[in-house]
Amino acid sequence: MALTAEHWLEVLATRLVEPLFEPETVRRLHRLAVTLPGECQGTLETRLAPGAAPVDLSLRLRAADEARDMAVRLPSMKGFLLRWAEGALAPVRSVWLEFDLDREPDGAGSPAPVVCAKLPRETDPGWLTGTLLPALQGRPLPAGQRASILSCLDALPAAASLLYVFSLRSRGSDAIRLEIFGLEPAAMLTYLRSLAPEMVPAVEEVSMIFAGVERLHLSFDVTDAILPRIGIEGSFPRQPSREPRWGALFESLVRRGLCSPEKRDAALAWPGYDTFWTAPERWPVDAIGPRGFCVRALSHLKVVCRPDREPEAKAYLTFGVPDLSNEGATASSAASRSAFST
């Protein structure tokens, strides 16, 4: 039996509960996850405002064989994924596929995802707009959009860099989302004033929520203009059990009415892990035997601003096999035997 993302959702079953996960949400997650591979890290995008809300599911692809596998499962993405797998888009370090589950998927199989490419710091703007983005969009960029993107990159301060680009075609938009790394809140506002001054009032207060937060990202959508949707996200290197600033960040969201206290508590309680020995009745022994971990982590918090709406806060909860990409800290090397521990 092949390992699927649904196997991990099964392991997580006791945690996929209200207030973050409504029963209908969980049903949609399972229906999608059964079509997706279980070897990739997954992320659940949860809305933090009080009340029921959809949860989206993302998968990260890091290797050619993962991309080839997904190309078979997602015919609409086949061209891009195979080009990346063959090395034709080599600077792309990883690819995220984000499946929106705010509505029931049409038909069988996986719905078309939002596609996101992670870039190295020194990405050539000419290659970005002339090769990568046309590959993501399935067509050359219109001249106006290309010029807008180049203007945004040209205006970046030296400390900042483009980290991710997204194709939003699955949402019916031709816009490209740019996600910038390396701007502190004040620098974000300065940057936005130069690009989209009309957005600054909507972003100003939200940016202050992220004062003192690490790993800040600023994202916005570009056609031949900057669209009125700005995202700010941040995180900390350590998980909440060793980093009290997570609690303070959530508290800022709760004070502003962007997060319910119950959802705050649920998100903070998410991190941890399971093995066959902690979840034997749900562990996918038919697919992987007793081996492995299902790790849960709090990745980051995001607030999305639009001029005509209240800001929306989200928490990104990862799950699945541990990330083995950093040298010297792999799960297999760092894990210790619990059978011999006291």
Binding site: R242, W277, D323
Partner: protein, 76 residues
């Protein structure tokens, strides 16, 4: 043969929390674990016992932090 024996044993562990706890105690000594499993009718091999041992691991706080950081942080 062994694979099916291990599968049968895992199924028993899944369905009996008491047996699960007991097996962890025995796994501190692989030879004892082997005898204990045989005594209950599960003809495990030393490789099966090793697989069980290898599955019973813990992650450090650093591993959990890394899991949240994604693919190589900070971005190069």
């Amino acid at each position: 043969m062994s694979r099916s024996e291990l599968s049968r044993f895992l199924e028993a562990l899944r369905n009996d929390p008491r047996l699960l706890d007991e097996s962890r105690t025995h796994l501190r000594d692989p030879a004892s674990a082997l005898r204990w499993a045989h005594g209950m009718g599960y003809l495990l091999t030393p490789a099966d016992v090793q697989e069980l041992l290898d599955s019973d691991l813990e992650l450090s706080d650093d591993d959990l932090d890394q899991a949240a950081g994604g693919d190589n942080w900070p971005p190069a």
